[in-house]
Assembly symmetry: C2
Homo-oligomer: 345 residues x 2
DNA sequence: TTGTATGCGTTATCAC
DNA sequence: GTGATAACGCATACAA
């Protein structure tokens, strides 16, 4: 590999002048720049990041720590968002997946330190609570899709499951539904709790009769190996006396099960029963017939915005807030029917 | 950050001795090792990768270049497989997503060079042909999920779509099906072509009457923005006179459409119609009722094995083969019915 | 506008 | 076994 000295020799200038050209520093005569650039071209010179880093201490590398990527394919959009921001802003990214294993996580932090990383995105694939403390972390860190109750100073960025679920429920109610089914996501998940609580709040505020509510758990078990009984749950719901006119599902995968259950029973969606999901897991939500109305998890933006906040903190600018929530926009498709005598939204 | 010198001073030894301990070189007295390690602990010393790299020229970093991660969520398992191998073997990985954009790709190669990367995994999210030439690449490279017709020397590792499709078709035929539907994946995709050709070959070899075959295209258009008409196609197939007893789908997403179509028409799977997919896209294949019989794309292994082959080449050991194919194992679930008078497999 | 001296944290070489 | 010294490729500070 050609070094800065080779370029200098070929261009007939000193190392420092080449350095100036490469780093676009001022005070170099245009014709010198030209000569240097020709030499760079000829030699195929590319600056050596390591050597640069030894002196300058700015690595322009961000670390991303992820846990269970294998389980939730779409959440890797968090990583994509972060990478996009990074590359648009001259940063490079090192991603390390721990598989939720503590030893791996420890090794990852060490690797980050070895590479003089400037800051870390601590990403979980499920929205959850992780009780880290800033003081225990060796590098500036932002939690993504998770947050710490132990340390309110620790920056975090999470989806606003609560508001998303409110809007979704509001939407269903606004279309005249009063007899509701709710199939809960694994209660272990923080997002599941928030969604469910929001649903409850809205339903109480709207004065829905509790007797008109059928609430069941669709998934349970440890994260990554849950058992899914939402198909059976949905079927039971549908064959009961006075079945719900709309079923709100904890996420899109449950909604898929509800679809299968309804179709198997010969029910039409949304004519016989309306269904909504959550996540906007596109391979499901867009593929279903009719396409699924749901709330979109802002994975990509989570990663992108996390970088913005993290780097602004590293650069010493105080970030707007320690705890940021990103909206989960309602995605209206065709799976909810407006009941008679109802004003269309 | 503590440096090797700080450790040396605290331990009362020279820099070089610390270096020896850190790198587990021989010829250090055990008690010296002990003293040094205590000092390392106390100072929280972590070796500086950049400084190390300036001297040693071995970065132990691998680069991964990906194209359209956003479109095919599961294919990011390629990256996961590669990362796992890397971390198990003391390597670090830098992933750069180009979004299929040429300018991004050029920038990525440059970034790789700046970081003195040892080798590159050129990963495509769809199985396809990319006509690169080894001589034009600045770093040792292996193509993953794609290959070059332009340069047979260029290493590649791809899924064996051809054999996977053969096995799948064989499986369906072995269960007594003779009237077959085939819904093709986007013919633009190389994998789609291989799968279709294999299907044709098997069907001819088995002496199936061409009149008993209904073959349609389910998806078309540019990669990443295709139009999906497989739902309609499947419905038409099912309402025709003498409908197929089994429908072979180009992939699992099409299979999902076929399921919806069948259920909407009140057909039972697999009693009225058997369905198989391809890919083993688990959010679909496992979620469907009944669960989908399909062939699994070996994404994870592709990434993992690519690293093995690439690094063995970098280390000067000749890799077994330039062009490696990995099997797509048949995943038997419940979506295919054995017709009467048929021996169970 | 350009060049020189020095040092970053580490490893390589060779001497003790 | 251990240590002194040079060298890696570049940036910083300062001199010319």
């Amino acid at each position: 590999m050609a070094s800065i000295k080779d370029v200098a020799r070929l261009a007939g200038v000193s190392d420092k002048t080449v350095s100036r050209v490469v780093n676009r520093e001022p005070n170099v005569r245009p014709e010198t720049i030209e000569r240097v650039e020709v030499a760079i071209q000829q030699l195929g010179y590319v600056p050596n990041h390591a050597a640069r880093l030894v002196r300058s201490r700015r690595s322009r590398i961000l670390g991303i720590l992820t846990d269970l990527v294998s389980v939730t394919p779409y959440s890797s959009d968090i990583v994509r968002g972060a990478q996009d921001w990074a590359h648009q802003n001259g940063y490079t990214v090192i991603v390390i997946n721990t598989n939720g294993n503590t030893a791996n996580e420890k090794a990852a932090w060490r690797t980050f330190q070895e590479h003089s990383i400037e800051g870390v995105l601590y990403v979980t694939m499920y929205h959850r609570i992780v009780d880290l403390k800033a003081a225990e972390l060796p590098l500036p860190t932002i939690m993504v899709n998770c947050k710490s109750n132990a340390d309110p100073e620790l920056m975090s960025i999470t989806p606003d499951d609560c508001n998303g679920a409110r809007e979704l429920t509001d939407y269903v109610l606004a279309r005249g539904h009063r007899r509701l089914g709710y199939i809960r996501l694994n209660p272990v998940l923080f997002g599941a709790q928030e969604r469910y609580r929001a649903f409850q709040d809205v339903v109480v505020e709207a004065g829905i009769d509790p007797k008109d509510l059928t609430i069941k758990i669709g998934m349970s078990g440890a994260v990554g190996q849950e058992v899914d009984h939402s198909f059976q749950v949905a079927q039971k719901m549908l064959i009961q006396e006075n079945p719900p006119t709309a079923i709100i599902c904890g996420n899109d995968e449950i909604a898929l099960q509800a679809y299968m259950a309804a179709l198997t029973l010969g029910r039409k969606i949304p004519d016989d029963v309306s269904i909504v999901g959550y996540d906007d897991f596109k391979t499901v939500s867009r593929a279903l017939k009719p396409a699924l109305t749901t709330a979109a998890l802002p994975y990509y933006d989570l990663g992108y915005q996390a970088c913005v906040n993290l780097v602004s903190k590293i650069d010493g600018q105080p970030p707007p807030l320690a705890q940021v929530k990103l909206p989960c926009p309602l995605v209206v498709r065709q799976s909810v029917r407006a009941l008679d005598e109802t004003v269309q939204l």
